[in-house]
Subunit: 318 residues, 4 copies
């Protein structure tokens, strides 16, 4: 038995037993075996490929999970949302003079495009954009890491969220391309602080470890017009929540963002640790995790799980 709820302007087919639906979807996803765990640093390459988790947090406060939903993993690029939130708060509209808001049409680590755009990244969801955001944080916060950590712990209501220092160090050791992006932006005058310090912040925030339950709780405010449904705190304005969702819709899934909009229709962000979060305005957040990545750097099973769930519940914002 199901009941209809109104969300995204559409009646969502909400099952009596969401958990059963999630379980079915997770089982189907486990048959997907065509991805490859990120191996550019040893600390990520060692992660077991059979982890799989799916969590839905709805705005009424319910959190429904299946699989390894409390196991923590490296959130990697999902952290770009956290950095962006703080930078938007601190810089307001002037932020957008230093980073654009356009889809890139290029791989996430493209240096070619950064050169064409004279050191102005296309958006804050590609690496160059997130490094630019890290420069803003390092330049405008006395303790940029603490600022991020404090915000994240508050959002997911878990004070033990921390960074995997081995991943952090490993990223720095293998971060030559990101260093190239940062130095190129500096050569165009678009990095204010010391490049090494900026990169250190960037790699640090990529190394945050969270579970799908942590992520689903953290981003509930984006589905709730900027207000955290648990605490009632207005995290961002409704307008800024919509803006962040817009950025995620056009640029959140690397160079597969268009396909994700076409087949799923939700604002979302992925990370090479295998995590994906998808925002369903006025309904809730879906968080998925499974380490093997497709050729675009998105979790193969995570994509499949969110697509199935969104299609079955009719969640597309379009």
């Amino acid at each position: 038995m199901t009941q209809d709820v109104i969300s995204g302007g559409q009646s969502i087919h909400a099952p009596d037993n969401l958990k059963t639906l999630l379980q079915t979807i997770l089982q189907q996803a486990l048959t997907v075996n065509d991805g490859k765990v990120a191996d550019y640093i040893p600390a990520l390459a060692e992660v077991k490929s059979d982890y799989c988790a799916l969590t839905v947090a709805t705005l009424d406060g319910q959190v429904t999970s299946v699989g390894d939903a409390t196991a923590t993993f490296s959130i990697q690029s999902i952290s770009k949302i956290f950095g962006l939130m703080l930078a938007m708060e601190r810089m307001s509209d002037s932020l957008w003079e230093r980073v654009q808001m356009e889809p890139s049409g290029q791989p996430f680590n493209s240096i070619v495009q950064l050169e064409w755009e004279r050191g102005i990244p296309r958006n804050p969801m590609i690496n160059a954009g997130a490094i630019l955001v890290s420069d803003v944080l390092v330049s405008h916060y006395s303790a940029s890491k603490s600022a991020v950590l404090s915000m994240v712990r508050g959002l997911c209501n878990r004070d033990t969220v921390c960074v995997d220092s081995r991943v952090h160090e490993s990223e720095k050791d293998h971060g030559a391309r990101n260093a190239a992006l940062a130095y190129l932006m500096k050569s165009f005058g678009n990095i204010e602080s010391d490049v090494e310090e900026v990169l250190d912040h960037y790699f640090w925030q990529c190394a945050l470890t969270m579970s799908t339950e942590d992520l689903a709780r953290s981003f509930a405010f984006l589905a709730n017009r900027g207000k955290c449904p648990r605490s009632g705190n207005q995290i961002t304005s409704h307008r800024d929540a919509q803006r962040i969702n817009a950025l995620l819709s056009t640029s959140g899934m690397y160079d597969q963002s268009g396909q994700f909009a076409f087949t799923v229709g939700l604002p979302a962000k992925s990370g090479v640790g295998g995590g994906i979060v998808a925002i369903v305005p006025d309904y809730g957040v879906i968080a998925a995790w499974s380490p093997p990545l497709n050729s675009f750097g998105n979790s193969a099973r995570g994509m499949a799980m969110i697509r199935n769930l969104a299609n079955q519940l009719g969640l597309s914002v379009y």
Copy 2:
């Protein structure tokens, strides 16, 4: 006095007198004077720059207009939606082997990207993609122009919709770059029919002339889960309507699509004739027209009018 309606998951602040609101927005837009009428062909360059129109068609069948809303103009790239609809119907999923669904991150007439992508356009909303779609129509319909015209006339319920033959001829005379795109795709084996015939269809559909009222009526099905609210005909499946809206959201406004999503938050398509249509799922369609274009090729006043209306009514899908 206003009343609240539910749309896009959000209560839309629907004014008693929508016409008064539109009138105010149109007056404000007329103070915007920083665009430039398209001048790459004489037939477009001659259009008076002070035309301005704004129409809202809601799903209950009401059409509210201010300004030159029954004057017809060259719809140009807005016609890409019509072409795409027929190609999706004829080709189904195999269409997406010949054109991608990713934002381009490049100007609409980029030949560089088409070369990188080995003749596979990034999406059907850039010129290369629409030329590819024209090849599909020319190759799969015995009379591709008639097929488009018949569909368009039916959608907007006006049997006198036609093509401006002077614009059509003028486009052909100045179409060297589009010819370059077509021949490059042919060199990669991605054009089946004769290039001249394909370009003729493409230039022909760009030269369709319609009013904002015509456009608002035509695309109402995209806001109505694929069904035409006037005739009750299911024009496309709900799924395909969502897919088209997704493409418009990531790629409909040329290289300003990300900014439009960020500031407006609606699927939309513009043309260099100065027209813009924006889809509000489960609410209706906004159509705007004013010839002067900003540097991205989008109507400067049209952008301003739709942004103001969307923000005041809270229409963002995000």
Copy 3:
């Protein structure tokens, strides 16, 4: 026994029996089997891969050949020199406002670079540059093909030089990429005549058929300060002969020009028919032919033969 002659500022180790040396070099070249006959048009793909010819024409009028040196083949891009000669004569310095003289650093048919350079080809030895030159000829000669044919027949002293009409037609049928280059130049206003006519001239001159003896005789003036050693006619000024040699040195061997300068050190031009001509200032011309091409589009055996001969005789201009 050998004698020393002075050429290129260096004593050239000229063997008593040049023919014997050429024979040895040709035999060694026949053991090279790693190329692939051009197959983009059937008429070229059918050419037997075991043809091999080597000719040296010295300024004293001697022509020494081994192998299939009187068999004719499609000279393809070698014809770019003939076109350039006529265009330089007709346009003088103003030619260089429409085509640059810089190495391209890109494949010979790059459309990306042409876009960056706003329709101005990097040099007359890449396809775009030669198409531009063809536009000059079509626009400035009442009968551009006759002008080329007459000049070529005079240079090689053979009135039966002609075009392989099957190759000519076949090039046109498979010329989509060159059409893309031409239309892109036209879109930038850098093509004056009708694109179809320009391409027809270009494909026609590529289809000229000549033997290595024809080629060696034809280009002797480039080694002789502009004067044809046979007729005594001043074909170009000394300055223009040096300029053409300079272009061949930086841009004559496709994207292997730098390597050819490094390993051989002579101005040279190749064609995908398998022919190569190399100019030795104040000494003579080397012409080689063998159809199988390396990955850069240069004759694999032709490269080997010219390199061996140049190294053994000490012919580098550097």
Copy 4:
């Protein structure tokens, strides 16, 4: 009165009084006022724009100079030849697996091309290539700076040649783009040593200060088949001298190399300090200096002086 000498395969019109000719050419050059002194670092921007020097060192040991020919200046990219000489000596042919020998067709500091070529620079005369060469020196010499300095002092026979430490430090402070190039190569695995150390060597060698007389003497071996005409030492093999000259011919004058070959016809290398050296095989070396640069980064007066001298003496190798 003049006498004819044989060089480059051509009789060179050697004036009785070379000094008078040089004086005339220098006076003409001083009327050229359209360049701009390099200003990317303060230490270069401060150099007086009216310095001008011209030196010819012939293989008989004569050194003829006019203007500020003993004043020292920052040789900048001319140092790339010194680095390359040591790297060729140490690495032999394996060097060319890590750097190509093709003209770049791009600005000297292009990062776009380096990305396309997967971290393999197009040639050792662009910045990326010279940084790669610096990595070779840092990795293969226990004291790479000493090795360079010792070689340079020996070549020009002046033990006081040194580095301008203010320029060296200043380059490091403004070296973000070069750092981007180095880190990008490292990300492709093509830098072995520590990036900071590699860049330090690179910036150090760019800061070498020499006079036109120093430079003319230093590179005489390149005109003399590898042998220093003063000491009689074989600096490189004849083959390697020709190879270096070939690289200078196709890639020595930044993105004006093709034009320099076309109008002058000599292997040459320029630096943003305003120096240029040109090699005349079997004749000698021309060195020119004047700080104001044209838009390509080449000394405007230096180009004019070398072109005039080469044309008047008929020095083109082609």
